[in-house]
Symmetry: C2
């Protein structure tokens, strides 16, 4: 196995993602809307979802994709980050988690008011679908339509929004481990899975590649949430960039509350192994970046 | 001119729209989310936007469109109604207009709580794009992609959401008539224009038809808002189905506050005439329904 420099790979990709977001999230949107949208999206965040899109493209077609594939993947990477950003803006609002700190900065409603947070979140969601449907591009219409369809299904009532509804209804409720898994498969997992599938769609990958990547994405999605729950207990607010210990305070069920800290760690390790196995069993050509991302999800400190 | 029975036409179309919404807005979305989504959308509303989509399709291709065109238009009609419904749900929330009555019923946040309103509005927006991108349909990918693009542009930062941001920033501020027009062209006009354009896109209409319909849609969009402002002053809460007199109470600039009641009525009449003229100047084949909708916008009592 040749050595793969994940730091170099992700630095290169992140630079392109940040440049694209800077270009596509409009500064000029009226009456402060653009300012709030950019505050919510730029200069922050781990960008895991965009990196998954780009790593998935690379797994399907290697590191020199044709220009329309490359453009489709970058639009998909930014679109899914906009969906993620909108969900955080709305989640942090007083009627939801009522959080004042995000990525080490005041949350959007603290900075721009509740109405500003509501509206900028709404507009970020819309912008995601605008990014995916450029009228002056060589991205095939079929790819544009499929990317919109994947994103809408991952973000909507049967995906992220559905998971948030379950989450909302679960505060102070005793969940079984299966119910907790269902909630997180929707709330966090759906968008991580969708990231991987959008990268494959940008590459116009076939059903076998799609199936392997779905399997990888499903395991990774749950692993991410298990580690999130562990970090909520073990990490500092300063390192985390958001308020630690919120789950216990809000009496929310977590993997740690159900499995204990050691049990949750074992679960995360087993899931990361499943993700690796899905890649090992596949015929995908260049999976180093996907493998490194699975390791990162397991080992991350924030 | 043959006689055209608008009541029969719209009854027939509305039945199909309601049936489609009943089918497509999911009852089974988890943890009460589906219930809130359906409450926000079903059994209420004038359905002006869906009717514009369907009338626009008919103007382009007559009243017996091919099945994929008909399906595309019905999906577009429902998608734009979902966007409209989500915007009302979020607009009514305490941090925005704080309204408790909509279509004669308690608003969504009164019935389902603020978090329920926030989430169901979010999921309704996402569902709009899901409806437009069925993977098992004969609607050409190009039409699917263009419909998503039109809807995202009409609903987003440069359209409806941008207009709402201007509106929010304008409470208690003295606007000129030009600034007021800009605000409403975005806030209300953009989605009405988009309805007409989506109908034309479902028909795969050419640039000339698109141009005529855009011109019709622009005039109609502003006329609708002028009449809205008139009704806020002249209509009863009971007839209106929402709280009357809110604009004056909130010190919001309106066409009536700037032009007076008579001036606003003249403006509305002139705009409706512009809409009719755009159709008369076009080569569109069957414009009775579009003409009747322009008349309805002018004469409506709620």
């Amino acid at each position: 196995m040749s050595s793969f420099d994940m730091t170099a790979w992700s630095s290169k990709q992140l630079l392109l993602v940040e440049q694209s977001l800077m270009q596509w999230v409009p500064e000029a949107a009226p009456a402060g809307l653009g300012e709030a949208m950019r505050y919510a999206v730029l200069d922050g965040g781990k960008r895991l979802r965009p990196l998954l899109v780009l790593a998935s493209l690379e797994a399907c077609v290697g590191d020199s994709p044709a220009a329309p594939m490359s453009e489709a993947a970058m639009r998909a990477a930014c679109a899914i980050e906009l969906i993620h950003a909108y969900s955080l803006v709305h989640d942090d609002m007083p009627c939801m988690d009522n959080d004042v700190l995000r990525r080490g900065k005041p949350t959007v409603h603290v900075k721009f008011g509740e109405a500003g947070a509501l509206l900028s979140g709404d507009a970020l969601q819309t912008l995601a679908f605008e990014l995916l449907t450029p009228s002056d591009s060589e991205i095939p219409s079929q790819v544009q339509a499929r990317l919109c369809g994947l994103l809408a299904r991952g973000a909507g009532h049967a995906g992220m929004a559905g998971g948030q509804a379950i989450d909302l209804a679960s505060v102070g409720v005793q969940l079984s481990i299966d119910q907790l898994r269902t909630m997180h498969r929707c709330k966090t997992g759906a968008l991580l899975e969708t990231s991987v599938l959008m990268g494959a769609q940008a590459a116009q990958a076939g059903p076998q590649a799609m199936k392997a990547l779905l399997s990888y994405g499903q395991a990774l999605g749950v692993a991410f949430q298990v580690v999130d729950d562990i970090l909520d207990v073990t990490a500092d607010t300063a390192v985390l960039g958001k308020t630690a210990g919120k789950d216990a305070e809000n009496n929310k069920p977590t993997y740690v509350s159900l499995l204990g800290l050691e049990g949750a760690r074992k679960e995360a390790t087993a899931l990361a192994e499943q993700a690796h196995q899905a890649l090992a069993d596949s015929a995908l050509m260049q999976t180093q970046a996907l493998r490194a991302l699975a390791d990162w999800v397991l080992q991350r400190q924030h």
